[in-house]
């Protein structure tokens, strides 16, 4: 497979921030997200991509597959909920936190409790601004599945929002 063209490299460079958030959505912590991002970039550089490939969508798919491989190789599926701490250990203390910050932290915790497929769909669309069609392409599921996953994720987050720690 051909190596990356200059334009594909530039597209990926411009997309790194979004890709990193996607990695965080997958891995649940900033350090793991950076490692996953690096592995994703390395894998893309090693294996290349077709000249006519959409570099951005390709990168998201490689990232998702790299994480799946990682989970398989480490057999951490059982540990996954514990990993999804979303850096809660780095959260500021109650005294230091404004109410808004606590709400964001609560949202992070709630996001971590979502099933991964819902969290990924929601991240791609609600945070990264991808269309349903783009998210479906990246996650390799039908558009209707994306729509229902996002709705279910939002419903769940609103339910968590009613919990006392959200306020």
């Amino acid at each position: 497979m051909p190596s990356l063209s200059t334009s594909q490299r530039e597209l990926l460079l411009a997309e790194l921030g979004s890709l990193r958030r996607f990695c965080q959505s997958l891995s649940g912590s900033a350090p793991d997200a950076d490692d996953l991002l690096q592995i994703t970039v390395e894998r893309i550089l090693e294996k290349g991509m077709p000249a006519d490939a959409d570099a951005v969508k390709w990168a998201y798919r490689v990232c998702k597959n790299a994480w799946i491989d990682e989970l398989r190789s480490r057999e951490v599926r059982q540990r996954y909920p514990q990993q999804m701490a979303w850096d809660s250990d780095e959260a500021p203390s109650a005294e230091e936190s404004a109410g808004q910050e606590r709400a964001l932290e609560a949202l992070n915790v709630a996001m971590a409790k979502l099933p991964p497929e819902q969290r990924l769909a929601l991240t791609l669309v609600a945070v990264e601004g991808k269309s349903y069609a783009e998210a479906a392409d990246i996650l390799e599921v039908p558009v209707g599945t994306i729509m229902s996953r996002i709705a279910r994720a939002r419903a769940q987050l609103l339910k968590y929002r009613e919990a006392p720690e959200w306020e």
Binding site: S3, T6, R9, E10, L12, L13, L16, G17, R20, R21, Q24, A30, P31, D32, D34, D35, L37, Q38, I39, V41, E42, R43, L45, E46, A66, D69, E70, S73, R74, W86, D87, E101, A103, L104, L107, N108, M111, L122, T123, V125, A126, V127, S131, Y132, M147, S148, I150, A151, R154, A155, L157, L158, R161
Partner: protein, 245 residues
């Protein structure tokens, strides 16, 4: 509220509804306070999701990842530096046997490469050592050495012995090596080097590893020897100023 209505509201704030469906929903929103209240909740959640993502984005992207994607001269195969918290997990294809074979070859390659260049009594390449002492790393381009060879220092990292090491590419008269030198006793000594062959029909700036199996040798060396992250530009500049102390 039905699940179907909730799904409609969710798609509405994502601007994914067909125009006629969106118009019908807007009409209902105007006369159904409960539906409107739910929409407002969803919009507030949307804002919080984006804000939370921005808050998590506070740290800059690691330079090592940006560096990997920097445009390179045609033909260069990017090397993985593997300074991650998953060492060896996703790249188990990097065969130890291949590394050992390549390292054996290196013992022959490095002196051969250095032949004809200024060296000290220990056989160290003094011109290269002087350049590694003072030149900052660069993602592309070359620094011309005083003896006509061209050098690109790729990155700097600390090793487990408490010394600093630098990965580099050194080009000379149509051939090149990629290596790692470490600062031992105040001087830079090449620990590992892999020949990079010119690609047929390409210009002089285009290289590839001597064999596919060699491409991971440098990465493997760094993985095994690195004791911390790659120095960023600012830190590296400080190290150069302080003679790598």
């Amino acid at each position: 509220m039905t699940d179907q209505d909730f799904e409609l509201l969710s798609a509405f704030i994502d601007r994914e509804l067909e125009p006629e469906v969106a118009a019908m929903l807007e009409s209902r929103l105007a006369r159904e306070p409960a539906l409107r209240a739910r929409l407002e909740e969803l919009e507030a959640l949307q804002s919080q999701l984006r804000e939370a993502a921005r808050a998590r984005d506070s740290s800059p992207l690691p330079a090592r990842i940006r560096e990997l994607l920097q445009p390179q001269p045609a033909g260069i195969r990017s090397l993985s530096h593997r300074l991650t918290r998953f060492p060896g997990k996703l790249r188990q294809g990097l065969a130890v046997a291949a590394s050992l074979a390549a390292v054996a070859a290196l013992l022959l390659v490095a002196p051969q490469w250095q032949a004809g260049h200024d060296s000290d009594s220990a056989g160290r390449d003094t011109v290269l050592a002087a350049a590694l002492e003072t030149l900052p790393s660069r993602a592309s381009g070359w620094d011309m050495l005083e003896d006509g060879r061209r050098l690109r220092t790729v990155l700097s990292f600390p090793n487990h012995e408490g010394s600093w090491c630098r990965e580099y590419v050194l080009s000379d008269a149509g051939s090149a090596v990629r290596g790692v030198a470490c600062r031992d006793g105040g001087s830079w000594t090449t620990r590992v080097a892999i020949p990079q062959n010119l690609l047929p029909g390409r210009d002089e700036a285009a290289y590839r590893p001597a064999s596919a199996g060699d491409s991971g040798v440098i990465a493997s060396f760094i993985d095994q020897n690195a004791a911390g992250d790659v120095a960023g530009a600012k830190k590296e500049a400080g190290l150069i100023t302080r003679n790598w102390q």
